[in-house]
């Protein structure tokens, strides 16, 4: 069940990271099954977790960087997207690595890179 923003503010960083992974894996499952509504719910759930990390002193989205090497490609993709503003080169390299995979992350990664290149995507 998705946590409310109030719930998130009371969580430890580790608990937030656990939620990030859990939601991203669920989103991957939804994407593989072409379940748009469930995938979109997870988009917002991940966004809330990411925003909570961003609001903490020092912008703790940085704690997502180790997930660049996670075993689930959706976790890698979401970690890269969430940290593009902090680590633009490394995060982009993660996206580039997904541009040729045989799965739903390919399109998201490729279109994000196009947006970065044409300036329509400005990560904050």
């Amino acid at each position: 069940m998705k946590k409310t923003k109030k719930d998130l503010s009371s969580l430890t960083e580790q608990a937030l990271l656990d939620l990030f992974v859990k939601y991203a894996i669920e989103q991957d499952d939804a994407l593989l099954g072409f379940e748009v509504a469930r995938s979109n719910r997870m988009y917002w759930a991940i966004k809330d977790v990411t925003n909570e990390l961003k609001s903490r002193p020092g912008d703790r989205r940085r704690a997502l960087i180790p997930f660049y090497r996670h075993g689930n490609p959706q976790v890698r993709l979401k970690a890269a997207e969430a940290t593009l503003a902090l680590e633009p080169v490394a995060a982009r390299a993660v996206l580039e690595s997904m541009r040729s995979i045989h799965g739903p992350q390919r399109l998201d990664a490729g279109m994000a890179i196009r947006g970065l290149d044409d300036g329509s995507y400005k990560p904050t």
């Binding site: 995938s39 988009y43 917002w44 390299a93 541009r99 040729s100 399109l107 279109m111 329509s120």
Partner: protein, 265 residues
């Protein structure tokens, strides 16, 4: 156990070797060079490197010091000899040893996905069956491996096979529209959902120029992407973002999507 070993080896061998380099690679002779030639790049010349390494005048730490007699670079720091670590010495498995001996070059991100769990029996719903089939396609990467992985994937053979099609030219994709085939769908480059509600674009939407035949899974994936919120569009879905954009802008995004999903050359 046997599966774990095979999986470990598969991951090791599928790793893009060109993107991994030993930090001391310059000490090794390139295999296509059989003798020392004058044109040799000094970085590949092991004898030259060895000659450069030994310097009889290199200072040593003075006697009486705990490190007395050891080579130093004159700054007080001790120069350590190269250490050769074997798997047994280090007590590491091969993968861990690789991590020690090799440095990863920029641009190489590991894509060693955790093996998915595949149910032995056919999943009860179509959605669940698609999930398994697509997870298998993503994991095994090779058509024959996917088709042979689970007997019940036979049911999705047309979709799986089509999803492995190589990219084609726009003309080829447009011409294929007149030949329906199992596993493929007709796709609108400029989405029907973004057409002008006053009907002024209806003819263009359904014109041959706007239609391509593409693998069904790619078609569904593109449709799903158009409905997904995107950071690039400040949380709007591409469909919402593009609704009031020009025909050309929508077509450009449609073509980019076909390229990125691996359908269009």
């Amino acid at each position: 156990m046997a599966y774990d070993f095979i999986e470990q080896q598969r991951r090791r061998w599928l790793r893009p070797a060109a993107l991994w380099l030993r930090p001391d690679a310059a000490r090794f002779l390139r295999p296509d060079i059989s003798s020392r030639n004058t044109w040799i790049d000094p970085r590949w010349d092991p004898l030259g490197a060895a000659e450069q390494k030994y310097n009889p005048n290199q200072p040593r730490v003075p006697a009486g010091n705990p490190d007395g007699g050891q080579w130093t670079d004159g700054t007080g720091a001790i120069v350590l000899p190269d250490i050769v670590v074997s798997a047994d010495d280090a007590g590491f498995g091969d993968d861990e040893l690789d991590e020690l001996l090799y440095v990863q070059l920029a641009g190489d991100i590991p894509t060693g996905d955790t093996p998915p769990e595949f149910p032995e029996q056919r999943p009860p719903t179509l959605s669940a069956l698609n999930r398994v089939a697509r997870a298998a396609a993503r994991y095994f990467k090779v058509l024959d491996l996917v088709l042979g992985a689970l007997p019940y994937l036979e049911e999705r053979q047309a979709e799986i096979r089509a999803s492995f099609d190589p990219p084609r030219s726009l003309q080829e994709l447009q011409e294929a529209v007149s030949t329906p085939e199992k596993g493929y769908d007709v796709h609108h480059i400029v989405e029907r959902a973004t057409r002008n509600p006053n009907g002024s674009e209806d003819a263009m939407i359904n014109a041959p120029d706007n239609l391509v035949r593409i693998p069904r899974w790619k078609h569904w994936e593109l449709n799903a992407w158009y409905e997904r919120p995107q950071d690039r569009f400040s949380g709007l879905s591409p469909r919402q973002y593009l609704r009031d954009k020009s025909w050309d802008e929508r077509r450009a995004v449609g073509l980019e999507g076909l390229i990125e999903i691996g359908v269009l050359k």
